[in-house]
Every structure is written in C-alpha cells, then in structure tokens.
Symmetry: C2
Subunit: 381 residues, 2 copies
C-alpha cells in the first residue's frame, strides 16, 4: 500500500482516478442492468487495468470481459481472467495468438460478419486445431461493422459458421449501438437502447425460426446500457466508458460532470496577460487529440478545468493545445485565468476517457483528495 | 540484427518507418540549415527513439538535442546525450529531476518568459545548488508562450535572470514559429521563416543595446527551417517532425506525400458492401485522434491509404474511425475499397507524425519493403 500523498507532490501531467466516483459509476450500471434481469460483460478497453477491473467485479453482476485488442486479452488472461470476448471482427492472422491463450486455458469467443470471414477463419482454426465459439456481429445503426438484422446475409453467415463445426461453434449474435454517442435527448437515448435491444432480439428470432439455436444475444454501449428500459431476451450488456465517464457522456446527458472519475493533473507554467491565457504543461499529448465535444451543444475544447478539490473553476476550459502546452481560457471572458500563479495546479476533465487514459501508463488513485495508490495500465497491441 | 521479415508477418496494427525516406528527410534539413550557416538542435519529441537519433546525428550538422518532457531528457541522457535544451517553460517543481540529471553530468538549458518565473525558479535552483543556463522564450506569432520581441517585458525578464546569477545564467533567446503550420503557400512559409528569424534577431539586438550579452538565438519549426532564406544571427534551428514528415506537412507544401517516412500497417477485417466501405483494425487508437488536415485544402480524414509497396492505393483514405476500427472509403466514390479482401494489408500515412507515433512503443524499420529492425521508443512523462 502506497503511503498517502497530497496532489501537490506529483509530477505533472499525471492521470488521476477518483475511486469514489468510479465505484458509484460501477454500481449505477450494475444496478440498472441487474434490475432489467441481465448481466454485464465489462469492456476493458477504457481502463486496461487489472485493479480497475477488480473494482468492476466487486460492483457485482458481471461475467467475463470484453476486449478490443489481443494485447488486452493477453494482459487480462495473465491477471486471471478466463472468459474473454474479442469484440472486433476476427481475421486468420490473429488466430495464432488466440490459440496460444486457449492452450493456456482461456475461453475466447470471436465475432465475424461475413461468409468470407467464416470460411477463412474456419480454415485457419482447423489448421491450428481450434474450436472457437462465434457470435455474428449485427449492425443496428449503421455505425461500422456487422450485418443487417433483417437483411439477407444473416442466415447464410450463421449457416457458414454452423457448417464449420467443430472449428467454429455458433453461439448467437452481438452488436454495439455506437450511434447512441450522438444522442441529443433522453428520448434519443431511450430510443437507441430500444432499437439496439429490439433489432438484436429480432435477429435472434429470425435465426431461431430458421431452426438455429441461439444461446447468446450480446449488446451494449454505455448510453444504451444506462437508458435501457427493457432487456428481455438479452443475455449480456457490454459497456466500458461508464466506469470513468467523460465530457462526451456528460454532453449527451448520460452523466453529470460531477460524476467523471478521471482527470489530468496539470501545472500552470506561464501566462499571456493580454489574452487572459494561463498556460499549463498539459497539452494534447496529456489530454489526447480527442475533440468529441466539438459538435455537442457545449464544446469543451480539450477539457474542463477543476480546482484540486474536484470542483469546476469558474468557467475555465482548455481552449487550445500544443503537444506539451495547454491554454486555459474563460469561456465567457468574464473570468481571468491569469489569476492562476506559476506552479499552481489544476485538474482537467477529459473529453473522452478511452483516449485520454491511453496517453498514460498508470493511474494515480485518489480518495478524499489524496493519492492512495498507483495502478498500472497497458497500451498498444 | 533482426533477420529480414516481410510485412505480411507482422501483427497489425503496427508502426512502420521507411528508413530511406527518413534519411533523405534528415539530409534535406541538414543541408538547408548548413547552407545558411547554422546548425540544428534536433527536437526529439516526434521520434523519442535513440536509434532514430543516431540517424539524425549521422546526417550531420547537429548539436545537442531539444526535449519537451523530462522523460525525454532522462531517456536521451541515458542514451549518452549530454547537451539538452528543455524547451517548455520551466517551473520549480521540475527542478529536482533536472538537478538529478545535472548531478550525473547533463548540461541542461531551461527557458522562461516572465519575471515571476525567473524569481521562483532562481529560488528553487539556489535551494538545490544549481546553476542553469537560461534562454528567454519569445512569442513571434501569437502561437502560445513567450514575450513580445519588441515589448516592454524583454529587458526586465533578462534583468531578472541576470540578477539571479549564479543560479541562473542568461544565455539568450529562443522561439518557435508554430503558426507556420497554418501556411497556405510557399510565400507564407518564407514569410513565416523571415518573421521568426527577424523578430528573434531584433530581440537579441535590443538586449545587446541594453548592454546584455546574447550568446544564443535559437529558433525553429520544420516549415520555417526548410523555407528560411536567411539565418544570419541565428545560432541554432530546432526542428523535429521533418525527420518523418506527415500529411499536415504535405498539406502546407513542405513535403510531398511520397516523402512521408511513417505509416501504419493495418489489416482489412470486413466490409459494408452497400456503403463501399472496407473496415480495418487501425482505428483512432492506431492513427491517433489528430485531425490536423481537417481544415486544409484536402481533408485526409484519419489518413491516406497506400499499398504494401508504399504507393497510393487509388483515392482511398480513412474516412472515419472507432477506437479499433478504421473505415476506408474512396474519396471520389469512383473506386471501391470492398475489392480489398479480408486479411489484405494496407499502409496508412498519418496526419501528424508526433501524435501517431505516440500510440506505439516501437518502430518496425523497413528497407526495400522488408522489416530489418525493431526500434523502441518512449512515451509519457
């Protein structure tokens, strides 16, 4: 256990994780999904940390994990996780790494969305002596990959998987309602959640009507997970960013900025008095280049400025950045950030937790305003 | 020495470095700056790699290095570099790390731009028994930090440094013409270079007229470094991204896309036939969220698609991304990226080399289309 340290002792920039806020976020999702009768398969792509994962599991109502890279699968396997869904379309060249994990005891489920992929992957799985459970990826909102739940490819792709037994084992369907990130009202969020659930259950029903057994119907995105009103027929909900939240999620009404658990600690390094700028050492490398709030009702620049107490500092935000410089302005112009002295510290809420956290190799965990632990995280592939 | 390997053997996404292109870029800058009678103090923030640095030094006409983080200073010191300019405004809390390097034999120069900073830093330097060379940061184009070359703060800040001897030792002035990244013509580039040089020399002249000895006049940015026509009075040019170049630099006419040395190797993982999308495993995590070409004449999306041979593939570009998904479209709509089969590989040129490279922990160095080495790089602070 690290001895407690004040925030003033850290080198900046540094990534802070408010554990109380995180635990409340974890509980909120676990309770909501549980109340609707299903479970969470937590997505680790946001936090990539075994210690955060322990808090997610302690929050209850989870089964296994979801990963977006093989590196995540390998890391969390080494941390003791066995039940892993690799939720990015699989290709043959990724199967050797999966075979290595399976040989060590991992149960890895894969996804695909075409007859071509089923054929190529089955061939490689056979060569490697693998028998992998498979979900078909659905596209419920035009977001990226996946086949149309009511289109003519659903049954042929399922057949291609079934015909590839025992190397592929058909398990069901999955989707991610990524367009829910662009919702602009609670009604939008509820509609996106309803659409994600209904389209997925519809696809499962079509498969069942074709005589195909469907054991799993896996859906999920943080906005739809929290605004779903009905999850009947859904076997698991895959969510990730809810653990930390961020300004994009606050901007679409999924959380309040006071619930965001992640922030970047920065030091004031200078001023431009004429422009009422305070300049910090947290540039875009420290915040990421993510400008996810740029097209929202409130553009948060590169982040919202808090004091060390975690409370907003007037209407200060990071209006612009260079690689290692951030420029704090008053949004209205009524405040004057040059009142911050050289060496003063601020905290900055990020636009996008996944992107900002990926710039760091560790979290400094804070409780009651003090650092109580350092938790490592992984990056890369 | 790594045995040569074809690009088809790498896991994707992976970061490729074309060494022949890089060496040509290094030579171009070394020759141009040398012809104008001065030297380069290479900025390491783009590559953060000891092996790349060796090629930069081999290209000739360099002295020391420029860093943007203490982590860079520590890493390159460990790799044998002794002469280091930390080119971000210094604050007292960063001085202990600097003192540790100085104690080990580093010569570290710092920058500052206010009487307040001079006073605070001198106090801490005295406490640590340091005697640090100092440059005053100038603002020649309203880009970020620095004092106006013709403003009323120049002499007082220099005086504050001089009065802090021996803990601070006044050496001269420095600036970075960051606004040159927004040039739209060769005339703009030349004008930005002229302005950067003239304003810096003007500041040095003002100081000399006040009886202050100025030994160093340090300037630099890749666009101004390459388009300068006169560097008289300049003691060094600090440049970084020229080593790799990127689509932002190509977009402002500093290089051709065929000179960009960095690319991301990606695999096709699926399609959306109706939309003529090919989907790859290089999302924004692999390319970075940098959209530096968004406001240029040609918006390159998240990157320009090449074949494995390094030649452009029709008019394909990465039009949109998710965290681990990239979507390739034909810019004109005349081409059809769905002709790429699942498992096919492409290379993607990045918008911004500094941002994209920071997503990786190593470069795969290619010569004649084959991988010949793996070079590690650092990240973080």
């Amino acid at each position: 256990m690290t001895t407690k340290r004040p925030l003033t002792e850290l080198q900046t920039p540094a990534l802070l994780l408010d554990r109380a806020r995180m635990r409340a976020n974890i509980k909120r999702m676990a309770d909501h999904v549980g109340k609707l009768g299903t479970v969470i398969r937590p997505h680790v792509k946001t936090h990539k940390s075994a210690q955060v994962m322990q808090d997610v599991i302690a929050g209850g109502n989870t089964q296994g994990i979801t990963v977006s890279t093989l590196r995540e699968a390998e890391y969390f396997f080494d941390q003791g996780e066995r039940d892993i869904l690799y939720a990015v379309g699989i290709i043959p060249s990724k199967l050797e790494a999966i075979a290595a994990l399976v040989a060590r005891g991992a149960r890895i489920k894969i996804i695909l969305d075409s007859v071509e992929a089923a054929r190529l992957v089955a061939e490689k799985a056979a060569e490697l002596g693998l028998s992998l459970p498979v979900l078909i990826e659905l596209d419920v909102d035009g977001h990226r990959s996946g086949i149309a739940p009511d289109g003519d490819q659903l049954i042929p792709v399922a057949d291609a998987v079934l015909q590839s037994a025992p190397h592929l084992r058909f398990r069901g369907v999955m989707t991610h309602a990524g367009e829910s990130y662009h919702a602009t009202s609670e009604a939008d969020l509820k509609a996106a959640a309803r659409n994600e659930r209904d389209m997925s259950v519809h696809a499962a029903d079509r498969l069942r009507q074709a005589g195909i057994e469907v054991d799993e119907v896996s859906i999920g995105a943080t906005p739809t997970g929290l605004f779903a009103e009905d999850l009947s027929g859904i076997t698991e909900v895959r969510v990730g960013v809810y653990v930390f939240f961020d300004l994009v999620m606050a901007g679409i009404g999924v959380c309040d900025t006071s619930e965001i658990a992640l922030s970047v600690l920065a030091s004031v390094i200078g001023h431009q008095a004429d422009k009422q700028w305070a300049i910090t050492d947290a540039g875009w490398m420290a915040m990421s280049r993510d400008r996810g709030t740029a097209n929202q009702a409130v553009d948060q620049g590169y982040g919202l400025v808090l004091g060390l107490d975690g409370e907003p500092m007037e209407d200060f935000f990071v209006a612009r950045t260079n690689q290692e410089h951030g420029i704090i302005e008053s949004r209205s112009g009524a405040g004057d950030p040059t009142r911050l002295a050289i060496g003063d510290r601020v905290r900055i809420l990020p636009n996008h937790a996944c992107a900002t956290a990926s710039e760091y190799d560790r979290y400094y965990v804070i409780e009651d305003g003090e650092i109580v632990a350092e938790w490592p995280r992984i990056n890369g592939w």
